[in-house]
């Protein structure tokens, strides 16, 4: 690839962000454009500022360990007229179960049941089905029960940068 001017690199980053709907990591972008990660970071900041200044219809968001363009929340009413709305919201039981898994991971089903005081089978199945949690291993000990943890999609669904953002939530 030829040597690029910073402005050109910036445009390429924008183009890359346009053809994927999964968060793009700085590392991937740096590898594709063949330039240092540091430059990418600087340019991402510029892109973010540009979107704000020009009040574009979409903005750059840092989510799930990468970056992605998403539409501005205030335009949601218009966009909902065009594309089908998102999946159903999670039930109270699923959210409680997910909160326990997020903060206690890795954690077994019986530990979750213990905290909630009820059986969490169906909540866990819902969360697995929506790729918000996954099996992350087996616990040592009798029965070697499955350990659950949260997924990348969990971060994307709730708009979190990474798991470090969790403890500050309250």
């Amino acid at each position: 690839m030829p040597t690029l001017f910073p402005d050109e690199t910036k445009s390429i980053i924008e183009a890359l962000l346009f053809v994927t709907n999964e968060p793009l990591t700085v590392k991937t972008m740096a590898e594709i454009i063949e330039c240092p990660e540091y430059n990418i970071k600087v340019l991402l900041k510029e892109i973010k500022a540009d979107c704000e200044r020009e009040r574009k219809g979409f903005c750059l968001k840092e989510v799930a360990g990468g970056y992605s363009f998403v539409t501005r929340p205030e335009y949601a009413p218009y966009i909902e007229k065009l594309v089908k709305p998102r999946l159903n919201t999670l039930t109270q039981a699923a959210l409680e179960t997910l909160a326990i898994i997020a903060y206690r991971q890795p954690v077994t089903k019986s530990e979750i049941d213990e905290i909630r005081g009820v059986n969490s089978d169906s909540a866990i199945n819902t969360l697995l089905g929506r790729s918000l949690i996954e099996e992350v291993g087996r616990k040592e000990g009798p029965g070697r029960p499955i350990l659950y943890g949260t997924t990348q999609n969990f971060l994307k669904y709730f708009g979190l940068k990474d798991l470090q953002e969790l403890p500050e939530m309250i």
Partner: protein
């Protein structure tokens, strides 16, 4: 016209307890156990009346509450002053569980907020088919081989088999109401009385023993039966309360 009774639905016994504590504006570290137990049992009664499906977890908690209540009613044994602290408050463990559950319930609320916020952000729709036309891959199957194909087919077949094997076991529903009716029927046949151990001799699950016990308490409370015990820890004998007319009246919740 059917009359519908509205009753709040709770995620579990701890959820219900927290609700009662908040409703009564009670200090969670100093729960008036008699009051809360009564309100808890009232909820179960009403739920049963309007046929709300309650899991056995609710009944188990009812027993925990009754057991705490009983321990708190018992006179404290006179112990000689020792180095040890005075005996533990029977409520401590329950309070710990409530506090922990409460913490996660609040975190769930934060997640609910984040979910609503995120629902307003829309991601770009990407059509891989369009991209495929623009960037045709040299090989449409990537690095897959027929072995992968066979493996994938086997995995599907295994899943199908697993699905077929999963038999949904219907949980045996034992309600306090049913148990009350059962006890009354038995007692009609045995005017000489029946012992508690006889009553639970065929019972296999802990839940059912608990429900049987709750049913007995309910029957004593409404004065339909009376209990006799020869000595401490001896078997409890259950008798039908003789009615003035010498006939039994239909049992009713009130």
């Amino acid at each position: 016209m059917t009359y519908q009774v509205k009753l709040p639905i709770f995620e579990g016994p701890l959820d219900l307890l927290l609700h009662l504590i908040e409703e009564n504006e009670i200090d969670i570290y100093n729960i008036p156990i008699a009051l809360i137990t009564q309100q808890y049992l009232d909820y179960l009664d009403r739920a049963e009346e309007i046929d709300l499906e309650l899991t056995s977890d609710f009944v188990v908690m009812a027993c925990t509450l009754l057991s705490i209540k009983a321990r708190m009613l018992l006179p404290k044994p006179i112990v000689e002053v020792t180095d040890e602290e005075s005996e533990l408050d029977p409520r401590v463990e329950l309070v710990q569980r409530l506090l922990e559950y409460k913490e996660y319930k609040e975190k769930a609320k934060v997640f609910r907020g984040l979910e609503a916020r995120q629902a307003k952000h829309f991601w770009r729709e990407i059509d891989d088919e369009q991209l495929l036309k623009k960037f045709p891959p040299p090989n449409p199957i990537g690095d897959a081989t027929w072995t992968d194909l066979v493996t994938a087919f086997n995995e599907v077949l295994e899943r199908v088999e697993k699905r077929a094997q999963t038999i949904s076991l219907s949980r045996e529903e034992i309600t306090v109401q049913n148990k009350i009716e059962y006890i009354l029927t038995i007692l009609q046949k045995k005017p000489q009385g029946i012992s508690f151990y006889q009553l639970i001799s065929h019972v296999v699950t802990k839940e059912e023993i608990i429900v049987t016990f709750l049913a007995l308490l309910e029957l004593v409370k409404s004065d339909r039966i009376f209990l006799r015990q020869k000595s401490l820890f001896a078997d409890i004998y259950i008798f039908m309360t003789p009615t003035e007319e010498g006939e039994e009246h239909a049992y009713s919740f009130s």
